[in-house]
Assembly symmetry: C2
Homo-oligomer: 335 residues x 2
């Protein structure tokens, strides 16, 4: 929106776990929108694990956050002023112009959203947004889940994991197993989300905990964690098993390369497929995803939680909390 | 064949690298063939890396060699006596009744072969047999090689690798890079087999050697080695790259799990696919494979070498030599 906005900038590239001093909150005057531009007031900002990678030096190439430059990320907002066809004041829009209270930008940077009855606007950053599409694409396109299969989801209480487990169930998986980092989260998975079984990975070796939860093995693994979770899943996968690799939060702060799975030979023995993916490649699924997820939401078959932090000032705290697993479901910042 | 045959038996399960004392050569009397059976005199036996796994304890389940039992493996032979329809004395046949000079067994255990002009019978254990089909299936079905791509083959002077590299070239790869374990093998790859570039992995870090040979990265990796080769290939693969995992000779004698690739996060960042396979699942490709490979052979577009050891007594020596990389191309034993 025109006038003063606050925005977060990357001040120093984090080494290991980011600290608050790596970021600074800056006030800026925005010009009025030029021809073809709109001004938007953000109402919800997204913090996501992938942002850690963009804070690194060369790792993410052109996408990396510049030092002393505004950071980007998912945001839901309302059009305040428009000098572009197709967008009017009051319209709900999605953009990647997060980490700030408002923005002035060409209309092409914004996607108009249609509010869904009974669903908060922040859902477009979660269940109906990028995390939802990640879960959906990973299970259906990458892992090619079939009815009757046994699925293991790591980081299952997170934004993507909690949806991956539910989509697996709704798509006909026989057994859905989840891992999470606290007893409370484990109870959430089996109690509210309908996971068949779940375990707290902090209570023992992932390999043993998974073998107990899935004594006959797993057919599909949805990986949000990497590291020992991935190695345990490779052991548990049965012949022709598939793993969709969505992220590896276990290694995001590593300053040394983390140890890799020592059992890669199992890929040959059991003809396994490991496939990494990024949600951006699967925009073509969006209409089918919106239909199917919207339907499940409307029928009350799919539930989701959000962890909401308040105020632009809390964005860094929210991001660091996400990295520490302090969220259940999607972590968002409400402006 | 009826009468006395010699056969190798597994005497002790090897720990680490097998030693000659793990095996014994036994003489046995065979009965005449019963109804529906044939007796066959073997002329060529195959020794292959996968046999190492079958010598292990529980690793290979039902397929593992029994202690004090005859071992199995690919063999080409001639029918001596037949009491089965469809097979007559003098017919050339393929079976898995190797590691022995002859056998009496039901006709269903043998596949009749048609000799190919100018190609030795042993080729049915190599270029026209299981190693050839492995190379063909791995590149076409598993890695889905496309014209104009850059391919890296490890263990490229071996039975499978030497064919994988040539098939890649004949199927339109722009650049084919190979690794091998001696300067002589490297010269063979670029001089005789038409590889674009090759390196001796014993002269430095695989990661660096591969980066020098393929500065713009690789699109497809055909893995016969595992270990540091696989890690280097994951680094070199470009976006949407694919690896076909055929075997991991680097880890076959390991008594401790070998270190895994420390860069699995690249699978997510570059949307890579790693897929293990076993040739037995791709028998359906056999007709297309036989046509295409036979055609290339007839046109002189595809060359192959064999390392031939003589006499049933040399089978264990041949197998151990294979494990040490003393072969160029397919290692066979001539009876």
């Amino acid at each position: 929106m025109t006038g003063a906005v606050q925005e977060w900038q990357l001040f120093a590239r984090p080494v290991g776990r980011p600290v608050p001093g790596d970021f600074r909150l800056v006030e800026r005057e925005l010009p009025p929108p030029a021809d073809g531009e709109v001004s938007v007031r953000n109402t919800y900002l997204s913090v996501d694990p992938y942002m850690r990678a963009l804070m690194g030096t060369t790792e993410s190439g052109d996408l990396a956050y510049g030092l002393g430059r505004p950071m980007t990320g998912g945001a839901v907002g309302e059009v305040v002023e428009s000098r572009a066809a197709g967008l009017s004041p009051g319209d709900l829009v999605l953009s990647d112009l997060g980490w700030r209270t408002g923005a002035v930008a060409p209309a092409a940077r914004f996607t108009a959203l249609r509010r869904v009855e009974g669903v908060p606007d922040s859902a477009f950053l979660g269940v109906l947004g990028m995390p939802g599409l990640s879960a959906y694409a990973g299970l259906t396109e990458i892992a090619k889940l079939r009815e009757g299969e046994t699925v293991f989801v790591s980081g299952a209480a997170g934004a993507v994991g909690s949806l991956a487990g539910q989509i697996a169930r709704l798509r006909g998986a026989k057994t859905v197993i989840g891992s999470a980092g606290s007893e409370e989260k484990v109870a959430y998975l089996t109690g509210e989300l309908g996971f068949t079984a779940a375990f707290n990975y902090k209570t023992g070796e992932v390999r043993k905990l998974l073998a107990e939860a899935a004594p006959a093995g797993i057919d599909v693994y949805f990986d949000n964690v990497g590291g020992d979770h991935l190695e345990a899943a490779i052991d548990a996968l049965t012949v022709d098993g598939r793993a969709a690799l969505c992220g590896a939060i276990s290694g995001y702060h590593a300053t040394e390369p983390p140890p890799g799975p020592r059992n890669m030979i199992e890929l040959v023995k059991k003809r396994l497929t490991l496939r990494g993916f990024e949600v951006g490649d699967h925009a073509g699924l969006q209409p089918r995803f919106a239909d199917e997820m919207g339907g499940w939401l409307a029928e009350g078959k799919l539930t989701f939680r959000e962890t909401v932090e308040d105020g632009i000032g809390s964005a860094v705290t929210a991001f660091l909390g996400l990295m520490d697993g302090r969220n259940t479901g999607k972590m968002v910042v409400r402006i």
